[in-house]
Subunit: 1003 residues, 2 copies
């Protein structure tokens, strides 16, 4: 940054020039208030349909919620986007984008630029795409998305959408710490031009906009949009959808939108957006898609070229095989998923293909997944395939001639009928398959390997319309020194690999280009990629991170808290890690630590540093770089980012804590919980009654009882604080912090936090009685109410998170080892509802929770039959069910169990169809064994408790067996018969308090 | 245009580059639908207050009314403006602008570029300015305005606003005949990008937009704007004003706005716009106007430099004096006004200054007003100033000593008391003033001359805040070969004049420069300016136009209809005329001729061509050029313009005539005439009753009666046809044409047109009875109704044109020589009103019309006393009044009149205070003269008619004189007295049917 940095308008001019030179039409901002350049018809409509379209433009974007009265360094209700659409994908959009940064004066060799997974979705527009945030020294400067769907229509071809955060980029280029200091035109600062309107819009959006009038506006816009849609007017309809969207955002900023309302608004807008999109496509179609190139040969260019045939003569020696799947930056999760899958699937395929090898190593980075097989056999192993045919007497007639059946079988097996072999009274078709040379089968194997991979989310990017997590850009496949020719997703395999991005940056290439290197042989791959600066081995990369982080932490006398998730993620964000220490203003340490750490990790993937339990005013970031020439530049950049983030947090914190937590409670009335179940405030009113009742069931002390009442009253209040509106993940955590700050007791504060637990699988559970009581109350209230009004999860749709609530109930009770009747709890919760809760609904709810319990126990490893057996008895008491399961599991593992169970089962089976319980009648016994069994039963019935069931039954085994050997239960004499049945029935009932043993295997 | 023309986006890029290089901030289009770039806050707010501001941006501008469903070559509901604001005026904005045209590839030497007066006003924004349309080969490509007021606030400094019609300019640069063929980006045509949305918006705007919902929107926006204003939020308030404005435009396009409503809407928006503007200025003021330069020295730079002192020794010989007032293009009317005023005022000033000269010649062009005085005396003539003082007896006391009165007089006259001269019993102060050298007084004289000029409209442009019709840019003032040093409007006089614009174009100058030439002496000016190519003599210029036009017309066998107004205007649009013949498609000759000619003259100042009463498919335009190198280019350009205009007219004509005229009538219900008097349809209903009644009074035949009924029913129907909505000046004319086309009788059709007559002073009057009847009915209805509801013209405000209506009534009656009682007509009109018409209102209305009659008669040259005399009798019958005035005028011009009138006046004066008419009583006469006069009276009373009044009175002169010499009228005897008074009273009453002679001079 030695030259004078460009003014903002000069940056725009250069971007226009750059993208115009790359075929973009230069467009204008839209004549409506939009939240993003995406909403400009030049994007949201033009990406639809098959026609090519490339465009670039500035878009002042209005997002009411982001307003900070101009008090934040880079967050405003109006920011400038620079929007680029490339349709179809030119194949090198990332490289073009990076070149555009150079065009506006950014020296990439001095900076850390990363593509960090970020998927984009607009529920209101029915649009989504996969891509990244682009980070420049930690600052999110661009959203880069492969647009998959818009207006609820699947896009074909896919468009590349590049959305520059213009203000932030310019701020950075000009080395300013806040956008307000940007030089706009060589004469004016950003503040001079934009500050007053920014503040005014904030005042309007947050304080002044009239909710009633906004709602009227919304309705009018909706009606006009409908009219336009009916008339088939694309753009006028779109304008009214945009106006609805902007009005919705204002209503939201005014806090006037509840959860259900939000969903309804979105659904309505999405429907209209779809109609508009369909109209647009129809309009283009009826014009014959005039922009389509004259011949559809573009499709062919991406079809796999015929793979060059494998060399005629395969080498006779074992060689290494190397496969590198090169792509744009994969999401970290996909790197680990990919490695694991390739490891498993490649091993399986090599087996299936009868290809022997010595070792298989799979590893990778965010840009490449690599499989390396050593000593792969030169040919498949020979194989004998045998298939049994018809029985001998059906295969040959009496004359010994093959029957039609035998002929058919032989034909099906691909051999002559005369070749059938006879053995064990059957005919057999036996084929000896000679192994093919490895080069001949590897292409197919590679294709199958890639076909076999399954991902969390895939996308399409070219006309092959193949799915992969991010665009696949190159394939290196080498057997020894020979390319294994195959094609997948329109890419032909080759020996050309690509260098890391920092190598591209250093290489000073023409726009759109990248560095490549040829891999000579499979065995030299690892040396070659290391030469490029990539640490391709994942474990090694991770180890380097750990070492560097520890080293830096030690240097400032601190340590990083253990955080495997973060480490895993960071490992897959870089191809070569370089840890850097950053510092932030100590004043921000006054903010709550969860906020500080949350911001670092969630937004920036920084490692926090602690010393003696205190957070330090430092962070560690991992750059993607071999050897940064100017680490200070990157550090300064990252520090600027965290400064802005903390400034934002401090703003919220100051604003929120200016008044007590309970003063927020009334505003919960504006948050709809469910239209028939009332607002969040209504829910709180119910919890204030229900939670103490639940506490009672948990045997709470008087003090705990008081605490839970108070905690219930405050439980949801943080939902309307700015901090939680901004970072929803901090709900409860902020509640606790604010409650403490307001002088609530520690127990009350903790219960507020705990009542959300567990927030996800593996999360902590409440450890206090008030916390547990409130957590159960909250979840049971949701379950009872929402089931009563029919808001039941279906398929993958669970808008109210009822599966999570039910799981939470189960897990909390298990974790706290608490006996609790969910039925009883639900009944209390039902009593608080203002809607009728039918018995049927109650039954459904209980069954729903029991299914979660069933799942939990399954995951804990209990056998299915054991689980079924205990659920039959303890479906509404998870902890009791678990204890019973433990018992049964031990029991069925005993060596004597099989016999004991057989004996018991005779009793249970012979009586299970009896309608009524019979009375013991020892006077009617005829045989001694009857008296003996009776005596054994009496002893057993006293000894049965949860832990002693097995032993008890075991002791009964012999008397039962003796009994059945000697007597016929169904005697002719009715009195005798009834007496015997009564005795056996009583024995069958012995395990009833523990489990229904008839569900056990072997019954 | 030999190189490849630039794409539209390249044109924008170059304009950005050009204006950025000249200090402009490059701004973005606004995030609201605006009608023009002016409404972007970057203009309408930033032009307010004292701070400098220069900005340039593209603005897609939406004007619903201009929508043509993409069927017009260059008229669309959305067009692109390129907007530039320069604040303050840099002194050479026109030259900068012209350079910007070169920057986008326009070779000015090949084109005719003219600045044609066009003043701009936005009633809704409370904004106005003076300036021009810039014509490129006849095409209006830019609006160039010196912004004088915005948000109802006076601008200081004034801003220069340059609004390029981007689409048209690009169309022209690319040599396309319609915008739809423009190359936007090298890949797409304008049609491909903009056509579908254009058509859709037209459908929405004209057919679909829901009027009720739009009205609700408008109200909501208004309420939100008010709330924002109360809270002091500038930009949010402005946004809501813009939304109101756009909504208003849509309502208008839907035909839902009546005249009164329009005014109310405008007033409301204007009020809000003013509030917003005031808030903005307050906001900037409270920030201390941070963009003001540190010291206010800019003011000084424009203050007149101290004129260099006149040379010590004036030349002793008479020399010529030359004054050239150079400015940006003056409106044609100001050229003629300026020449006339300078001629008169300079002559007067030379007289006042005692400066003798031989000839004074004043002439000029649109860019310079020139005064040339020959043989101006080297010094002022010596002068003796004499002043009469007190009478002798008051000037000296008895001792002959000067009194205080004499001393005071002498002091006041600036001489010693001893120097008083005595004459005619008075004292005199006599001063002998020696003339100053001419160079010493000429500067002051020049300043006074410029101060003395009065203009229709003036503007301010620099910190001198002086008013002139357009910015004054240079002053040449030479006495012989010496500069006459003075300063006016911040400009110092000099000998540097400027060449014409076509010379600038040829000179290839740096941006912002212009050609200059030094004027050596006053006498060489005319040769020097001729050398530059300017035909400075207005008469000569006009003669050249006439010759060229005739020559070209003759060449195509046609002639141009006489049109002095057009010729006058064109003479002052160019500095050097070059007539060019253009051709348009013959198919347009099917359009009504008034439309064709109207378009040519109103929009283009073309001379139409006719042959044998038929219009030819040609036109003649007058370029401003010395000798065009490529007249074909200019002709082609002009042909493109007229093609688009006629396409538009054809579109309207086709649309309008697709259904009969009377089918438009019901839609008149949507046009409000006045809120209390109902719609235009209500007015038509009244006219259907009133017009036949008026016809009755005009003694119409039965057939005429039928015609007037039908004409009344159709009179206003053309107001809602597209053609009239577009060209209001064609109202009635279009009605006639459409009526004929629909098979109405010629008389009905003609009456429809005639009822609007006269449309302005000097216009034709109705020549048919139905036309006259309908015209009177229409005007009397307006007058009766509007006076009744108090909508009476005040000051210069006459929104309903009542002065014109009253004048029309008067002129129509005079022109048609029709006797008609306006009182009677008004009474009939009043009877049709649905509001009460009081006697007072009726009286006011009649007096109002009588004042117009008085004015008309005054203009016709009748003496005031004559007019007063006849109006007293015939105020409600103009034709009768005029006849009486003719009579009186002849009468008072007779040599005997004075004596006759003296005699008559004695009779009138002596009896004018009598309350009651007396009865003649000859029996009571005493003297012979009484009998003689009685006899003379009896004779006269039979002879009195309108034409014989004078003679009659003359014959009575002698008997009256004799009577008064002999008798005392007021005799003691009451009977005698009454008889004498009765006789005299009867004589005094003789002229009563003609006039009230007591109003005549000399009474």
């Amino acid at each position: 940054m030695s030259q004078k940095p460009l003014s903002m308008q000069e940056v725009i001019r250069r971007l226009h020039e750059f993208w115009a030179a790359h075929g973009c039409l230069i467009w204008q901002p839209y004549s409506e208030k939009v939240g993003a350049g995406t909403m400009n018809p030049a994007t949201v409509l033009r990406v639809l349909g098959p026609e090519p379209w490339s465009v670039a433009y500035v878009e002042p974007s209005f997002r009411a919620d982001d307003g900070r009265y101009a008090e934040n360094p880079n967050r405003m209700q109006m920011h400038h986007q620079y929007q680029v659409i490339l349709k179809p994908d030119p194949g090198n959009p990332q490289e073009l984008y990076l070149a555009s940064l150079e065009a506006i004066g950014l020296d990439r060799t001095r900076h850390d630029i990363r593509f960090v997974e970020d998927n984009w979705e607009s529920p209101a527009l029915g649009a989504w795409g996969l891509g990244w945030e682009v980070w420049l020294d930690g600052q999110e400067i661009t959203q880069f998305t492969y647009f998959q769907q818009a207006g609820s229509l699947t896009l074909d071809p896919v468009s590349v959408e590049i959305t520059y955060g213009l203000d932030r980029i310019v701020m950075y280029l000009q080395n300013r710490s806040q956008v307000w200091d940007i030089d706009v035109d060589g004469q004016h600062t950003f503040a001079e031009i934009y500050r007053d309107p920014e503040i005014e819009h904030c005042v309007y959006n947050f304080e002044l906009a009239d909710v009633e009038r906004l709602k009227q506006l919304y309705e009018i816009y909706r009606a006009e949009a409908d009219a336009c849609i009916r008339r088939g007017l694309v753009v006028p309809a779109h304008d009214f959808v945009l106006r609805q969207s902007h009005t919705f955002n204002l209503l939201d900023a005014r806090g006037a939108i509840g959860v259900t309302e939000r969903a309804k608004f979105f659904a309505a807008m999405r429907n209209q957006a779809r109609s508009v999109s369909e109209l647009y496509v129809k309009q283009r179609a009826s014009a014959g898609f005039p922009w389509l190139p004259p011949t559809p040969e573009t499709v062919d260019t991406l079809a796999p070229a015929a793979p060059t045939p494998a060399p005629e003569t395969a080498k006779a020696v074992a060689q290494s095989f190397l496969l590198e799947i090169g792509s744009e930056e994969l999401p970290p999760q996909d790197v680990t998923d990919g490695i694991a899958q390739i490891e498993a699937n490649l091993a399986r395929l090599l087996g299936e293909y009868q290809l022997r090898y010595t070792t298989l190593r799979v590893t990778g980075t965010t840009r490449r997944l690599v499989a390396y097989v050593t000593e792969l056999a030169p040919t498949q192993a020979n194989e004998t395939v045998e298939k049994r045919g018809p029985a001998l007497d059906r295969a040959y007639d009496s004359a010994g001639k093959p029957t039609k059946a035998a002929e058919g079988f032989a034909r099906g097996a691909g051999i002559d009928v005369s070749a059938l072999e006879v053995r064990d009274n059957y005919v057999y078709a036996v084929k000896h398959v000679t192994g093919q040379p490895t080069p001949a089968v590897l292409p197919e194997l590679c294709t199958k390997l890639l076909d076999s991979l399954r991902w969390g989310k895939t996308m399409r990017w070219n006309t092959s319309n193949t799915g992969y997590p991010r665009p696949l850009r190159w394939l290196v496949a080498l057997l020894g020194d020979q390319v294994v020719p195959f094609a997948w997703a329109g890419i032909n395999s080759d020996r050309q690999s690509r260098g890391p991005r920092f190598a591209d940056a250093a290489a000073n290439l023409p726009a759109g280009s990248f560095t490549t290197f040829a891999v000579e042989t499979a065995d030299t791959y690892f040396a070659a990629i290391a030469q490029q600066g990539v640490i391709v081995d994942r474990a090694e990369r991770q180890q380097r991170i750990v070492e560097q982080v520890q080293q830096i932490a030690a240097a400032v006398g601190g340590a990083t808290p253990d955080d495997p998730g973060l480490l895993e993620e960071v490992t897959d964000l870089v191809e070569s890690p370089q840890a850097l220490l950053g510092t932030f203003e100590a004043k921000y340490l006054d903010l709550p630590i969860p906020v500080l750490i949350g911001v670092m990790k969630k937004h920036q993937r920084y490692f926090p540093l602690v010393r003696d339990g205190q957070l330090l005013a430092h962070f560690i970031t991992i750059a993607n770089a071999q050897n940064l020439a100017h680490p200070d530049v990157v550090v300064t950049g990252n520090e600027g980012v965290i400064r802005a983030r903390y400034a934002d947090a401090a703003y919220f914190y100051r604003q929120d804590t200016s008044r007590p937590l309970d003063s927020y409670t009334p505003r919960l009335a504006t948050l709809t919980f469910h239209e028939r179940l009332g607002s969040m405030l209504d829910k709180v009113e119910r919890l204030k009654l229900l939670a103490p009742q639940i506490a009672q069931l948990l045997h709470a002390t008087a003090e705990q009882h008081t605490d839970v009442s108070r905690a219930a009253a405050l439980a949801k209040s943080d939902l309307v604080t700015s901090m939680v509106v901004e970072m929803t993940s901090l709900q409860g955590i902020i509640g606790e912090i604010y409650a403490r700050k307001n002088g609530e007791t520690a127990a009350v504060a903790q219960a507020i936090r705990e009542h959300y637990l567990p927030r996800a699988a593996g999360d902590a559970n409440p450890v206090t009685i008030p916390g547990l009581a409130l957590s159960l109350a909250d979840k049971l209230d949701s379950l009872a109410g929402l089931f009563a009004v029919g808001a039941i999860p279906t398929g993958s749709a669970d808008p109210f998170g009822l599966r999570r609530a039910a799981l939470g109930v189960v897990n909390n009770l298990l974790a706290s080892q608490t006996d609790f009747s969910i039925r009883q709890g639900l009944t209390l919760a039902a009593a608080q509802q203002t809607v009728p809760v039918t018995d049927a609904a109650m039954g459904e709810t209980l069954a729903f929770i029991a299914r979660r319990l069933q799942g939990v126990l399954t995951e804990l490893g209990y056998p299915h039959d054991v689980i079924d057996a205990v659920l039959a008895m303890h479906g509404d008491n998870p902890y009791a069910a678990q204890r019973a399961a433990d018992l049964l599991q031990t029991m069925v593992a005993q060596p004597w169990w099989s016999d004991t169970f057989t004996a018991y089962a005779r009793c249970a089976r012979i009586t299970r169809n009896l309608d009524t319980p019979l009375t013991l009648n020892p006077d009617a016994y005829v045989e001694e064994v009857e008296h003996a069994l009776h005596q054994a039963y009496l002893t057993a019935s006293q000894g049965v408790d949860a832990t002693g069931l097995g032993e008890t039954l075991h002791r009964l085994q012999a008397p039962i067996s003796a009994f059945f050997e000697r007597v016929l239960v169904n005697a002719d004499d009715e009195t005798v018969r009834k007496a015997r049945l009564a005795l056996v029935q009583h024995i069958a009932q012995l395990p009833a308090t523990v489990a229904d043993l008839s569900k056990l295997q072997g019954f």
